[in-house]
């Protein structure tokens, strides 16, 4: 479940930005981000196990008190929801450009938003089962199209690491990759719900989840760069879509195998939204001690907010600006800062309780 909740629905725009900033060295930035993410999640898990409570909101309450809890949870909630909204907006714009040029852009956005809300309004079991069912299918079809696109690989040499690493570029690219890992709260609130067969080893599981996500991203990076080379990738708005559109199998049933990817990505995005909205509503439910029926309405409200923000974003360019210029730095500093501080506070309290 942890592994599954980390499926990010945003890889279709992904490599462009880091290649623009860091060139081929983007790969190092990716590993750096994965490292930061791993450290933050390990801290969060330590925090959860120090306070021995769940979900995220309850963890925060035990550390910061009721007022602090509202501040932390709403800040995290706002950031997460804006990131989700931008993912949704970008995806809607991508569908509009490539698949439904005559359909108004709001239509796919509303549809995906609705599907996400619908799943998020169900119980945890339903959400988990849905993710569990779709996850292998998503990975399989993604792997299939990737396999077909290996035929177009032209420049394996483009992957050679450069002997010179420019530190500012590397850091900027690291920042630009963060949004793919900005789902810490989700994992933190799901950890206690894993049914452990043996001794619980949350750190191992989280490491596996992040490792898996990083592996998918590395494969995407390698495919795009070795097919197009860094110069061409930096000029494309949707490098991944472009690479997949080159796959054409003449003897196959239909020409555009890329259709598979669309099904894959749409499902991935719906689940991503559903898991995020679910966790948000669950956290609010715990904070205010509400019934599960009210939680559904909160999920509905949160989903509508996300969809509305997505509709209000006017273009891909502004979405990218907001994401890379504002959200990424804010989210990264907030996540790292708040987590480190919280763990210290929780640890101090824990020790004091032990001594008294």
């Amino acid at each position: 479940m942890v592994t599954m909740s980390v499926v990010a629905g945003a890889i279709y725009i992904w490599p462009q930005y880091i290649i623009q900033t860091a060139g081929i060295n983007g790969l190092w930035s990716l590993f750096t981000t994965a490292g930061i993410s791993l450290a933050v999640l390990a801290l969060q898990i330590a925090w959860v196990s120090l306070t021995k409570s769940t979900p995220f909101a309850a963890v925060v309450r035990n550390t910061w008190g009721v007022f602090g809890m509202w501040v932390v949870v709403s800040m995290t909630g706002i950031l997460c929801m804006t990131v989700d909204a931008i993912m949704l907006a970008l995806f809607g714009q991508m569908l509009h450009v490539f698949f439904y040029p005559l359909t108004p852009m709001v239509v796919p956005i509303i549809l995906i938003g609705l599907a996400g809300i619908w799943i998020a309004m169900r119980s945890l079991n339903t959400v988990a089962r849905n993710v569990q069912f779709w996850f292998p299918l998503i990975i399989l079809s993604f792997g299939f199209v990737l396999f077909l696109s290996f035929r177009n690989v032209r420049f394996p040499a483009a992957l050679l690491p450069s002997p010179t690493i420019v530190i500012p570029q590397w850091l900027r690219a690291t920042l630009g990759t963060w949004f793919l890992y900005a789902n810490g709260a989700v994992v933190a609130s799901l950890i206690p719900h894993i049914r452990w067969t043996r001794r619980p080893r949350p750190v191992l599981w989280t490491a596996l989840a992040i490792g898996f996500q990083t592996m998918v991203l590395v494969v995407v990076f390698v495919t795009v760069i070795s097919t197009l080379g860094p110069a061409a990738t930096a000029q494309l708005q949707w490098p991944m879509v472009y690479v997949f559109s080159l796959v054409s199998v003449k003897t196959f049933f239909f020409k555009g195998v890329g259709m598979f990817v669309i099904i894959t990505w749409t499902t991935a995005l719906v689940l991503y939204l559903a898991v995020h909205i679910y966790c948000f509503s669950w956290n609010v439910q715990t904070m205010a001690d509400l019934s599960s029926l009210v939680r559904r309405w909160i999920a509905l409200g949160a989903g509508i907010v996300v969809t509305t923000i997505a509709i209000l974003i006017p273009s891909t360019i502004s979405a990218g600006k907001i994401l890379f210029g504002v959200l990424n730095p804010v989210d990264l500093s907030w996540t790292v800062g708040a987590t480190v501080l919280s763990v210290i506070v929780a640890w101090v309290r824990h020790r004091r309780r032990k001594h008294s």
Binding site: P101, T103, I110, L114, W118, R154, A158
Partner: protein, 364 residues
């Protein structure tokens, strides 16, 4: 409360079903004109002439017998300053929705310079539905002579698309899809290559685009050399005179491996070419021995080598790099400043050809 939820859910599902239809985008085929070929040539310094080829909707199996192959397409030509202007004009003329999702071949005039072509390809790339796998060709105007139908097909199909897709038909793989040409245009250190045709059904040369200006047309032999150096020889034949009569080597195919290093103001390349051939024709009175085969192999290697050297000489003379050696250097990040800025450096090449006769003749 439950009932209200049900109603809400049913309403949502209904909405999804209605919207998923994508009615905005579905058009009946009769309202849509789906172009298969696009040709572009210069009309005036600022304007280009664009011709779109559509399969003739009246061609049915029963009407085929009365139709000449050339009638399988109808064309629509306009003069416009950019690709999107041309779309609009054609749509106006046709009174149908122009659809480029099925485009197979783009034929360009060799009068287009590299910046002009890059502008065109950028516009083409930004259009979401256009297939980036369409083949690009270059020809001398009037380029429309190159837009051909395959004579043998019952359903209208474009000759060049079938030809480039057929791996048994081409002596060298010359087919260049749009995305590769565009990629070469924006990547430093390589001169984009596009197959160049002069006559109907004949494509034996390449057009190589230097830094700016019009393409340079490589001779047929230099083109062959280029294909050997790139390892793109599929089914070539070699014929030469020997003491044992005229020899023909058929089914020449193989691989090439490059090692590229920065030299002193040059690009130092060493290339190993490995070829396998079939000995197809030799003097009827000659009794083949291993030593004669060995000597034929050496003569064949020389023939290949001379083509390779011709090609490198052509590249150095015209300041082009159709092999992408500069690009390899750029990828290794030890590229001289000049290359990274899109400049050119002379190629100093060392070529080793190994040719092996796999079998003497086929059949009897």
């Amino acid at each position: 409360m439950m009932i209200r939820m049900r109603v809400l859910a049913i309403g949502a599902i209904f909405l999804i079903i209605v919207m998923l239809g994508g009615c905005w985008d579905s058009e009946p085929d009769t309202d849509r004109a789906s172009a298969l070929v696009l040709t572009v040539s210069q009309a005036s310094p600022k304007e280009w002439h664009w011709t779109f080829y559509f399969p003739n909707p009246t061609v049915t199996v029963s009407s085929l017998s009365q139709l000449k192959p050339s009638n399988q397409f109808y064309t629509m030509g306009v003069t416009a300053s950019s690709l999107d202007r041309a779309y609009t004009r054609v749509q106006q003329k046709l009174a149908r929705d122009l659809y480029l999702g099925q485009l197979e071949v783009i034929i360009l005039s060799s009068k287009l310079t590299k910046p002009e072509m890059l502008r065109l390809l950028n516009a083409y790339n930004r259009e979401g539905v256009t297939p980036k796998t369409a083949y690009i060709l270059v020809g001398t105007p009037p380029v429309n002579d190159l837009a051909l139908v395959t004579p043998q097909e019952s359903i209208p199909s474009v000759y060049w698309e079938s030809y480039f897709e057929c791996h048994q038909c081409q002596p060298e793989y010359l087919g260049h899809p749009e995305w590769k040409v565009w990629d070469d245009m924006v990547t430093p250190g390589v001169s984009p290559v596009v197959p160049y045709g002069t006559k109907a059904y004949e494509m034996t040369k390449i057009a190589v685009y230097p830094g700016k200006g019009r393409p340079i047309i490589y001779s047929t032999q230099a083109t062959e050399g280029w294909a050997y150096l790139k390892g793109q020889v599929a089914k070539e034949t070699l014929a030469f005179e020997t003491p044992w009569g005229r020899i023909t080597l058929a089914n020449v195919h193989g691989t090439a491996h490059n090692q590229v290093r920065p030299g002193n103001g040059t690009i130092d390349v060493s290339t190993d070419i490995h070829l396998s051939v079939t000995l197809a024709e030799w003097g009827s009175s000659v009794e083949l021995t291993p030593s004669i085969l060995k000597q034929i192999e050496i003569l064949g290697e020389r023939a290949v080598l001379s083509r390779c050297l011709l090609s490198i000489g052509e590249a150095n003379r015209t300041h082009t790099d159709p092999f992408g050696y500069g690009r390899s250097l750029w990828f290794q990040h030890q590229a001289p400043e000049k290359l990274a800025r899109g400049g050119w450096e002379p190629i100093s090449s060392q070529v080793t050809v190994t040719l092996q006769i796999r079998s003497a003749g086929s059949g009897v």
